[in-house]
Amino acid sequence: MVVKVRNLVKRYKELIALDHFNMEVEEGEILGLLGPNGCGKTTAINCILSLLSFDKGEVEVFGRKMTPDAYDIKQKIGLVPQEVSVFENLTVRENVDYFCGLYVDDKHLRRRYVDEAIEFVGLKDYVKFYPKKLSGGLKRRLNIACGIAHKPKLIFLDEPTVAVDAQSRNFILNGIKELNKEGSTIIYTTHYLEEAEMLCKRIVIMDNGKDLVSGSKEELKAMITTSEKVVVSFTSISDEELSEMKGLPHVIDIERDGEEYIIKFESGINNLTKLLEFIKEKELIYTKLHSQLPTLNDVFLELTGKELRD
């Protein structure tokens, strides 16, 4: 276990930011910490890193209790903070070199690492630029380079793709997979479902300072009752027909979203076939029909009663 967090409680005066939060991270995985804005992701990371004091709980990193002066543990960690945190008056290269140099003493090795990190985030053409001359996306890439240049075993990335253009976002996500392949364990916080879904081997879903569930995305989806959704647009349908449809086997609920009806099924065989037979029998006319497997949003919705959207 690379990181182990038990019953972490963190208060900011009255506000309880972490409420008995638990998390475990295994070596070599990409763990996604998924939750809406303000749920406590950044607070959790800062507590794990001993940057913030906390009221209760235990944090172990690399099998040892984490403390502010555990410099040998810090040596193996890289952080990409949520806010771009670089020196405004140092160039791209100087910034990366500065932060890398806090971990790597050897000059030649450092030069190689710095070159690799700059290459890795695609800032090779910008080495002499000052951060204020970089676009938002490029600035975030610099922020990443500063956190990973020393090739840490454990990397924390706190929402590295927020406010980033699509191109930079893909670049960043692919880069993270690459880092993981090279052997780094990664903790990735995000409030974007799709990112967690495409990137992470395991996901901890978080809300109001608590860890709600954790597991692979398949495991998480298997936890909820809705297993399939069918979205249909009828040209017209009466209330009786609708309530008759609700009576079909395995149908949990039908929601209306403008023209579209979202029919939710619990797991069962031939759900779609039965629905199509019903439509044929009632001679209903539809313009559009498709079936959806559950998403993490459905998982979140079922766990918290609210949607996880921007």
Binding site: Y12, L52, S53, L79, P81, F99, G101, L102
Partner: protein
């Protein structure tokens, strides 16, 4: 050691490229000294040339006066004098008993009077008048006004010696996780906090001393004011001013979570106020304080620095050096110790 050096280099680069720093530490003092120079140049650049004076034919001091470059001597009779004084053809008339007759008072009249005073004194002491360089003596003796200007420039230099305050604010903000994002980032690295802070202090001292040097060269070569005749003790006080300023900056930076701009304003307000009390805006303030509340001049760090620079360089006196240097050192230690109370936490309740 190596990491201290790296931190100095990078923090130095970061600071030196910062416009705010360059402006406040480097340009602003030069602008201010230029401004003072212009504002007081009426008194600074007294035009000593060709002050017309009248004297009666046969007065024994006539030949002495004629030797003095800045005077232009007219031999006229006592009767003509009144008229010429009114027409301002002469600025003053010296009668047979070495009395000065003027029609109005002014800087030229003052100069004549002082020269006459010197001559009388020399005569009383029975010194030979022939070799006496009245012009040099006059300038060296400095009249009251010239002294005032010098006070202004010494207090200006005293003030900017404390301008390490800005770099001190930056250094401490960069290391405190609750004050800056970079602070948070640095706190999770294996770098020890004090290593970074010490580098910040070294950089603050080095860059501000450099800025002070530039100002002093500017005053000496561009404004042509000779303020420093003594180097050793003068440097000591300028260095102590730097130490004090940097410590003050660290305290201002560490003690509160106001924005950087507000902290800079706090620094400017503090140093400006102390400089004001030390006589930078108007030397009269200093005169009043020295008379009414001498203790204030004794404890105001800017006064300590400017008074000592004045005494060391103009009066050649080092009698208050020890006491002043000790007090300034004590202030710095107190400031740093108070800052330590804010900085020492190993992690933060809130960032």
């Amino acid at each position: 050691m190596k990491s201290l050096f790296r931190n100095c280099i990078y923090q130095g680069k970061n600071l030196f490229r910062d416009f705010g720093f360059v402006f406040w530490s480097l340009l602003y003092p030069i602008i201010l000294s230029g401004f003072f120079y212009v504002a007081f140049s009426g008194i600074m650049n007294m035009d000593f040339k060709d002050i017309d004076i009248g004297i009666e034919e046969g007065n024994p001091i006539q030949y002495i006066l004629e030797e003095i470059d800045i005077l232009k001597v007219h031999t006229i009779s006592r009767d003509q004098a009144e008229e010429k004084l009114i027409d301002e053809e002469i600025k003053g008339f010296i009668d047979g008993d070495l009395n000065l007759i003027v029609n109005k008072s002014g800087i030229n009249q003052t100069i004549i009077k002082e020269i006459l005073e010197q001559i009388r004194q020399m005569e009383r002491l029975n010194r030979p008048l022939e070799n006496y360089d009245f012009q040099v003596d006059y300038i060296l003796n400095k009249n009251q006004e010239a002294n005032m200007i010098v006070i202004i420039f010494y207090s200006l230099i005293a003030m900017v010696s404390t301008y390490g305050v800005f770099a001190g604010i930056v250094a401490v903000s960069l290391i405190q996780a609750n004050l800056s994002h970079i602070g948070a980032r640095i706190n999770i690295t294996p770098l020890k906090k004090y290593n970074f802070l010490i580098a910040g202090v070294i950089v603050a001292l080095a860059l501000n001393l450099f800025a002070n040097g530039v100002l002093i060269l500017f005053i000496k070569h561009a404004l042509k004011l000779q303020l420093f005749n003594e180097i050793k003790y003068s440097s000591l006080f300028i260095f102590l001013g730097n130490l004090l300023g940097t410590s003050l900056g660290i305290l201002i930076g560490a003690s509160n979570r106001k924005s950087h701009g507000v902290k800079n304003l706090m620094a400017i307000a503090t140093t400006l106020f102390l400089s004001f009390l030390a006589g930078m805006m108007s030397p009269d303030i200093k005169v009043i304080i020295d008379k009414k509340m001498p203790i204030l001049g004794g404890i105001n760090p800017i006064s300590i620095i400017s008074n000592n620079l004045y005494r060391i360089n103009l009066l050649g006196s080092t009698k208050s050096v020890r006491e002043g240097a000790l007090l300034l050192t004590l202030y710095s230690i107190l400031l740093l110790f108070s800052s330590y109370m804010f900085i020492r936490g190993r992690n933060y309740d809130s960032i």
